[in-house]
Symmetry: C2
Subunit: 217 residues, 2 copies
């Protein structure tokens, strides 16, 4: 049996391991999980014992195939629940994370798969993140950062990289939502900000905001 805590470590290692195929460092895990490095070392040993991770002292961790699948299935649950909360229970996208953190640990294959069916086999969660299927696979993201669009080009807001409360509330406040069509009107070299236009408004977004907006064409 994989414990709740182990699942949380698997998830974190999975996420950190995505960018770059290199092993994940103890400190990186500790920082992301807001825990101490010594705790990470302990847990990582346990994951290795269970064949969920490959661990070499002082050299970081990678997930085994088994570990990667386990992580993907937790992420699958997390994202399905998030979508359920938004679509069926009137949660807004900045309220779902905390609850989904709990729901993702519920153990029942039938539950996940029925939930998946109930939601119509969705491919993306409320933040545009892809939802892994039963086998842990998902279609690669094919959206591009809005800063990589030439001025005059437009596309659909498909994914937000930062899904923190504050950022999502900023988007709410400014009437930006997934699915919106956005056109890039101007790039300002002084502060790297962007002028954009949606169906309902014209506005300036800072570079920091732009870095988190991904557009599908």
């Amino acid at each position: 049996m994989v414990t709740r805590s182990e699942e949380n470590y698997l998830k974190t290692i999975y996420h950190l391991g995505k960018q770059g195929t290199i092993a994940v460092s103890t400190n990186a895990i500790a920082e992301k999980m807001e825990t101490k490095a010594s705790s990470v070392t302990d847990m990582v040993k346990k994951l290795a014992e269970k064949n969920l991770a490959n661990y070499i002292k002082y050299q970081g961790v990678t997930l085994t195939n088994e570990g990667r699948l386990a992580a993907a299935l937790v992420i699958r649950k997390h994202r399905l629940w998030e979508l359920f909360l938004v679509e069926k229970l009137n949660f807004s996208w900045d309220e779902v994370h905390e609850v989904a953190e709990q729901l993702e640990h519920i153990k029942s294959l039938k539950l996940v798969n029925e939930l998946d069916a109930f939601l119509g086999y969705p491919t993306h969660d409320p933040h545009g993140d892809p939802i892994p299927d039963k086998d842990g696979n998902y279609s690669p993201i094919n959206s591009v950062n809005i800063l990589d669009l030439d001025t005059g080009k437009e596309g659909i807001l498909a994914f937000v990289k930062d899904s923190s409360d504050v950022f999502l509330k900023y988007l709410n406040k400014n009437n930006l939502a997934l699915g919106d069509t956005i056109k890039v009107l101007d790039f300002e070299p002084f502060d790297n900000s962007l002028t954009i236009e949606t169906k309902t408004q014209k506005m300036i977004i800072s570079n920091e905001v732009a870095q988190n907006l991904y557009i599908s064409l």
Copy 2:
């Protein structure tokens, strides 16, 4: 914060305390929870510390108002989730218990109340058990045991006392479900069995089965 384990104890004490206003014994709790009496003593002390229970050494436990409310809210969640699983996710009534045991511990007021609304503010779960409201209250059961019906009388199957797997599967196999109209045709004094009739069939049920069927008139 009330832990998952504490919630399970509260729930058990609540259930055991229902029949009779007398204090619940350590052993009774231990047996119901399949744990050891010494573990119960430890936990009951903790509940008393937190003002969730009244505990006098060697004399058993009762819940405080606060503890009773906490227990009722866990039961509320359990029953709402059970109904959700049956109504929305194609679970049958003998499959829901284990999953609901997990879901009942999810902490989010918004989640429970939205779920309640999503299900249309139901009053009873798939086994006919009443669902407590936000304040922990529920309308008293007004169904009677089928053995207390005179022959010739009929009513609607409203509640099953035993909601174990085996019993529910027995009912499935014999096409008996909540909401069915049942008429008592005959009582057999030799083995206290009952002959009953539904819209689709005539059958004999043992006394043991009859003890678990409750009818609303």
